[in-house]
Amino acid sequence: METKRIVEALLFAADRPMTVKQLQNVFPELERPDSGEIQAAIEAIIEDYRQRPVGLCLVASGYRFQVREEMAPWVSRLFAEKPPKYSRALLETIAIIAYRQPVTRGDIEDIRGVSVSSNMLRTLLEREWIKVVAHKETPGRPALYGTTRQFLDYFNLASLSELPTLQEIQEIQEFEPASINTIQSDQEQSENQAEEEQADAPVAASIE
């Protein structure tokens, strides 16, 4: 019984499909259920969710909870909204990777002076703008990140050498203070967005 509850929690929380074996391995060795018990738990969970709009499915690399296909129109509407804006931190991170590649997360943190969240790197990896090009032979073998073909394509560049040089960037800074205003107005814009969100707040309050 407890095994089933644990398996259900694991399948919901995992960010990837899980095989019976992988589920088994989550348990400490001494209390590890055999594969039959895990399989039985899975069957029972599938049965429990039969009537619900989400269900447990077997895909190539294991079991995962999925939203049922007939809910597709609604889910699409959910994702059709305006995309969020990238944070300043994320922009700096992609800039550092572009100009200083190959770099480790630690290198980026050194340059930026603050810690870099895993989420930020995940976002960039998911967008396929960066990739792991190798691992550095230092303790922990940290991943070395570089930019991808897709990154260049997105910005319509044939190669990284078409990125403005550091020299040119410095010059922009000196001769075109206007461009800095552009960014500032961007920032204000996102602050306005924050205010829009504020407008939602009373709603959240009324939920209580």
Binding site: F79, K85, E92, P102, T138, D186
Partner: protein, 270 residues
């Protein structure tokens, strides 16, 4: 983020030897955990913090602080902090000065006409102490709250089966450049970081070479050059290999004199 610990860790690696002076027995009353100066420094993050510790250690009633005694101990700690060259020491000095001032004012006979509306300096200090202690408690409570990544895990069902085009944020190249410019400006302010101005194509080539090596144990030196790229391309590749070598990411090997050079990924070499 954690200034104190970091400082302490870099300044005094071994606990038992400080500035060449080994010492084994920690004073019983100085700190409880046997495992380090860092912990001790953690507990002394700020002067008010230190004061609180002293008050607690001596089982003092916070409402009746014997200033002279504390001041003396306090100064001993400041000396120690300065010995460790902690930047914090300056902050501590300010606090010691405040304490000394309070002390001297307490020793002076009160002028009756001022006495009415002027606040007792001890009351002021005590209020600050209490306020800080309140916030320290609050910080501990917040640390105990169930939180994401540790106690709270959000749940999601996969929607990959459903055909959705998830819209991604748009970005202009100028935004990246301006972000980088900001980074550069900050780095310049901090000044101890060096961003060297390398031609970009070298760094790009570095990534390319690493990737090529990912699929092969080692490669012949010449395989990393493309003749059609001309002299410029060759130079770029060469610089990239040197840079990779310098950063310890690849090694150049030669099995015997005059044999062709080979490049090996340090990763693959293990």
């Amino acid at each position: 983020m954690n200034e104190v610990t970091v400082e302490a860790a870099t300044e005094t690696p071994p606990l038992a030897i400080v500035c060449g002076q080994p010492y084994q027995d920690l004073p019983k009353d100085l700190y409880i955990p046997p495992d380090a100066l860092q912990v001790f420094l953690e507990a002394f993050q700020g002067p008010l913090d230190l004061l609180l510790y002293l008050i607690k250690k001596q089982n003092l009633d916070i409402l009746n602080i014997p200033i002279a005694q504390i001041t003396r101990q306090y100064i001993a700690y400041i000396d120690m902090m300065q010995g460790l060259r902690l930047e914090l020491a300056a902050e501590y000095l300010v606090m010691a000065a405040l304490l000394a001032e309070i002390k001297s004012r307490m020793l002076l006979p009160r002028q009756p006409e001022v006495g009415e509306d002027e606040e007792d300096p001890r009351a002021c200090l005590i209020r600050r102490l209490q306020e800080y202690e309140q916030m320290q408690r609050a910080a501990e409570e917040i640390d105990r709250l169930p939180r994401q990544e540790r106690d709270v895990f959000t749940v999601a069902a996969d929607v990959a089966m459903i055909e959705i085009e998830k819209r991604q944020p748009d970005l202009h190249l100028a935004e990246i450049m301006l972000a980088f410019q900001d980074v550069l400006r900050r780095v310049e302010q901090l000044s101890h970081h060096h961003i060297t101005r390398e031609p970009l194509s070298v760094r790009e080539r570095m990534s390319t070479i690493l990737e090529t090596l990912k699929n092969a144990d080692n490669l012949v030196f010449s395989a990393l050059f493309t003749v059609s790229e001309g002299r410029h391309g060759v130079v770029v590749s060469f610089l990239a290999i040197l840079e990779l070598c310098r950063e310890g990411l690849v090694e150049i090997i030669q099995s015997e004199p005059f044999a062709e050079l080979r490049i090996r990924n340090r990763t693959a070499a293990g």
